[in-house]
Structures are given as structure tokens and as C-alpha cells.
Amino acid sequence: MQVKFLKGEDHFWSFPFSYGANLLILVSLWIIGFLIEYLTWGRGVVVPPFPYNIICLFILFIFLSLIRNLKLGVWPTTIPFSIVSVLGFSILLLSAAIFPQPIHEPIGYLKAFGFSHITRSWPYAFNLLLIISSLFLVTLKNLKSWGFVANHLGLLIALVGGSFGYGDFVRVKMDLELSKVSYEAYDFNNRRAVMPFALKLLHFNMEEYQPKLVIIDPLKNIPHPEFIKKSWPFKEGQELMIEGVSVKVLKYYPIAIASLGVINQHYGPGSAPVALLQVNNTEGVVTFGSTMMKPSFINLKEGLSLALAIPKPKYFSSEIEYLMAETKERGVIKTEVNHPVNLSGWKIYQYGYDEKMGRWSDKSIIEAIFDPWLPVTYFGIFLMMIGTIHLLLFNKREKR
């Protein structure tokens, strides 16, 4: 059954605006945004820090509260407005979804108009402001329904925390070296800053999974395109059938150095997993190499060779001593992936290490994040979860 229009539209700009009118307004704002990007050499939007971001937010909310009974204030509460603004936002995001968003790129038309940094651009900011305004006004209009309020207010708070709060968000990295003190951090633009604490890497610990055998193209020394998804785990003494060829694992050393066919177990930098294999009565050493030895492969059959794939890390962590600049408080923290550590309002994450050295890395890269608006965003997320539970529990379609 088709639902007909209840009253005919007088003209394109009759209130409440139709989908077409909303789209036209949104696209106009986008065009203005792209022009601003162009005129500012693709600089993007810079969200002001506290207290200016809060002042802007309050001005916006006061303005919206004052106009909520005017047509201008009713318009963002209509469904065509909400659908057009959210789907339009998604269209803008397509540039981030499809193309890589490089941070350091030369000026080209992509950067000049904001496409290469769409989530920090003026069209994106205008679109987001429309969504935030809509959520605020629609919440004010439907305060009686707790599920509705939870969903819309939750999203509003989460978006505000992420957007206005970005002005106070700091994300920097610190390169720590064993037994050396660092107090300088750098951001993604390589700008350096002194941190309110000094850090010293005491110990870097890493465990790796056992490497697996893979097939490579011996002429190009790269993983063979036909066997990219295949790998063979093995144990010492095991006999495997790989592509119809018998492969015997004579010996396996998780930590060794192989040189001129001689394998020495060695615990320290430069050592890596080494396997001694027998293929077609030929013995050969297989390793992916290290800072002290070259990679080595063994021929499997014509056009195919066996290699050891560099194993994925199982676990890595850093033991770090800290010294607070102001309070002179000292202590030791341990950073692991998925287990960040709080340090004076900063959250310290285990970001990376020297991948060339692998488990012998004497360098640990940590990320320090300062996000005072995080509780705001978390509260928004929590409200959204409550709202979603409401949707689950009261899953009823309105009757026609």
C-alpha cells in the first residue's frame, strides 16, 4: 500500500522542506566548505582548545534553544533533514573510505579542496554541525521518551566529545632506548614537545609465534603468488609433504645464527629462528635472516623454494621507569598492547619497537595520549547502549 502525500506541496521551498530542498542546502554548505578549504590552502579546520571549544559549544546550544520554536529550529527536527544530513555525511566519508588519507602530502587539488583530509575539513565540519544541531533540537522535542533521549542525546554527546573535544586532544609518540632517558615527544607532523615526565626504558620483552614454512619464488625472492595463503607449521623431526615433495625437518633452532652452513645456538641480537631441512636428499638451512645473517632458502622443486615466514608477534611489552617533572615522583610502569597505563592524566600505550631487531629490539615506541573529553564520549557511548537496549526490547513498528 502506497502512502500518499497528505497535502500537496505548494512549491519546492514549502515548509517543512522536502528531501530535495534539504539536499540542496546541504550541498550548498559543502560547496562553501570546499571553497574555504581552497582559499585557506587546504589547511583544514582547527578546533580551538579549552576554553574556546566549550564557549563555542555553549553559544551553539544557547542559539539552538532560542530558535527551537521558530521554523529554523523545527526544520532540523524533520526526518528528511536527519536522513539527508546523515547520508550526506556518509558520502563525504567515502573519500576517507576509498582513498588513503596521507598526512604529509604536497598541495594538489585533493589537498586544496580537503579530500585528502576530509575528516578535518570544512565541509565535514558544517555537515557535522548540522547533525549535532539536529540531535540537540530533536532531543529537546522528545524528552518524555527515555529510549529516544538515550539514543539521540547519547550520539550527540559522543559526537561533541569527539569533535569539540578534539581541540584538547593530544597524541604523541616517544622513542625510548634501553637505559636512556627521554622527555621529548613528537606528533604526526614531527613537531617536538617536552613532556611533563621523563621515561627510561628498562627492559623490552617480546615473544613470537613459531615461524611457518612458506613457498617463495626463488628468482624474485618474494612469496609465491600462487601460495600466498598457504603455510606449513612444523616440529623438529617431522616429515611433511609439501606440494608432493617430502620435506624432513632435521633440526629446528628457535634462536641461532647460521653462517656458512654452520648453525650455532646463540641468545642475543642477531640470532633468529633457523631450521635445517632435508628435501630430495639435499640438506639446507632455512632462515629469514637477521642483522647478522643473510636469509637462506632451500629448493623444493622447479620454480619453488621453501622459506621461513617472519613470525607474528605473540606478545610484547616494555618496562619503563618514569620521573614526574613537577612532583619528582618515581616509579616503574609496564606497557602491553591492550593494556595501557595511566600516568598523570596521560595514557601510555605500547605502540611499536624496532622491527628489524625484532625480539632483540633495544628500542620501544610508546604513544602518549591526553584526552580530557574522553569521559564525555564514554558517557555518550553508554547512553547509546541504553538506547539500543530500548530498541531491542521495544521492537515494535508503528501501526499504519
Binding site: 502512502v3 526526518i79 567515502l94 588513503p100 603455510s231 632458502f297 595501557p340 605502540y351 530498541l391
Partner: protein, 256 residues
């Protein structure tokens, strides 16, 4: 490989083809049970949840979709819904058959989190429900006289699907904060997940509008499912994929 993957696919497909031929919901359920058994076996043998790779998530999809189809069949006292669901799941199993994977126990540190299981499972539940919604949308397109009935069911299922999609998105954000430092980084996978969420959210709002078109609603859902597929699989093939933490790199064999 632990068990020949292809045997599993053949066994399940045989059960499901028989289920279609004999119109037996029990055989359909048995097929899902076999998949559930395989996933359990995989979980125990690998020592980690089998939720990591695309192939593994396709298995969960092939598990949940027919189960939801069977539940809806049972509630509405029909028998065709589960068949449609089984047909779609079979397609995913065939994709797995043609793209065999070697399962390994490796789980990189970022995936070693309490959020891993809830985030992925809730997403697979959402995808399965939205897959069922798409099947109904297709049916509504071809049987216009049953539009009201189909749309009514679609709207109910969509509310469920969108709820799970929302939980998946939010769990992902909370996990990202613990693992990568920020709850939202506009990673390509995150961006496509947001677009998928927004598009289904748009549908929900559209259906609350006083002025709405059934024909437009149904077609909207078909486009939405394409976006969902792009978010699930398509991301891996896009230029932005290299910068995504959600895609898996080719194994390296040389370290220097």
C-alpha cells in the same frame, strides 16, 4: 590444516540441498549444527576464537543466517524463509571452498582482548539479520502483493539487526581505545562500518516518516546490503586498505 575444510563444506551443502528437496527444516538445522561443531573444534584446537580471518567470519555468518531463518519460519509458521537463508549461506560456504585458508593459532597482540569475541560475534549476528532483511527485500520486490507483510517483517528484523550493528560499532570503539589509543581513527574499515550503520539508520528513520514509499524502501535495502558487503569484504581490496589495521599482510620471508 587441521581438518579438510572442503569436507565440511560438502557435508553441510549436502544436508542443505536435502533440506531444500525434502522441505525439511530439521536437515537445515543439522547443517548449522555441523558448522557449529566445526567452529567449536577449531576453537579448541587453535586455542583461540576462530573469529580472525574473513573465511572464519564467513563460517559464523553461514551458521547464524540459517538459524535466524529457521526461527522466523517457526514463528510465522512458514517454511521458505529458512530455505532462502540456507541458499545465501551456501553461497558463502562455496566462497570458502574456493578460497581455502590454512588456520593457524596465531593471534597478534592487538587481537588478544576481551573485546575480540563480543565485537566480532555481535557483528556477525547483525550481518546475518541484515542478510535476512535483504532476502525479504528481494522477495518484496518480486511479490508486490505481499509488500505490507514483507515490510512489516523487514522492519522488525531491521530493528534487531541495527541494534546488534550499533553494539558492534560501540564495542569496536571501546576496544580501539584500549588497543590503539583512540576510540575512532577513521581507519577504512571503521569508516565503512560507520557508513553501513548510517545507511541502515537512515532506513529506520525513513520508515518513521509519514511520507514514505514502499518501493523506495525495498530498493534502499538492496543498496544498503551492497554497502554492508563493501564494509565486510570490499575494504580489503580498496586502495586505502594498506593503511588499515584491519587487513592482513602478505607473509614476509626476508629480514634485513
Amino acid at each position: 590444516m587441521i581438518i579438510d575444510y572442503k569436507i565440511l563444506v560438502v557435508v553441510v551443502l549436502l544436508l542443505w540441498i536435502s533440506s531444500a528437496l525434502f522441505k525439511s527444516r530439521l536437515l537445515g538445522f543439522l547443517g548449522s549444527l555441523v558448522i557449529a561443531g566445526f567452529l567449536t573444534y577449531l576453537w579448541i584446537t587453535l586455542g583461540r576464537p576462530p573469529l580472525k580471518s574473513l573465511g572464519e567470519t564467513r563460517l559464523w555468518y553461514a551458521l547464524f543466517l540459517p538459524l535466524f531463518g529457521l526461527i522466523v519460519d517457526y514463528k510465522l509458521k512458514k517454511n521458505w524463509i529458512s530455505l532462502y537463508a540456507i541458499a545465501m549461506s551456501s553461497l558463502f560456504l562455496i566462497i570458502n571452498f574456493l578460497n581455502p585458508e590454512s588456520f593457524n593459532e596465531e593471534l597478534v597482540p592487538a587481537l588478544q582482548s576481551i573485546w575480540f569475541i563480543p565485537h566480532v560475534i555481535v557483528y556477525m549476528l547483525a550481518y546475518a539479520l541484515l542478510g535476512l532483511v535483504t532476502l525479504f527485500a528481494l522477495k518484496a520486490l518480486f511479490k508486490k502483493d505481499e509488500m505490507d507483510e514483507n515490510l512489516s517483517l523487514i522492519d522488525s528484523l531491521l530493528n534487531l539487526g541495527l541494534s546488534f550493528l550499533t553494539f558492534g560499532l560501540l564495542f569496536g570503539a571501546l576496544w580501539a581505545k584500549e588497543a590503539w589509543g583512540h576510540y575512532w581513527s577513521w581507519d577504512p574499515k571503521e569508516t565503512w562500518a560507520f557508513i553501513t550503520w548510517a545507511i541502515y539508520l537512515g532506513y529506520l528513520h525513513y520508515r518513521h516518516s509519514a511520507i514514505r514509499s514502499d518501493f523506495f524502501s525495498v530498493n534502499y535495502l538492496l543498496v544498503s546490503f551492497v554497502v554492508l558487503m563493501l564494509a565486510w569484504f570490499g575494504v580489503n581490496y580498496m586502495p586505502a586498505a594498506k593503511s588499515s589495521v584491519h587487513t592482513y599482510a602478505i607473509p614476509e620471508t626476508v629480514k634485513n
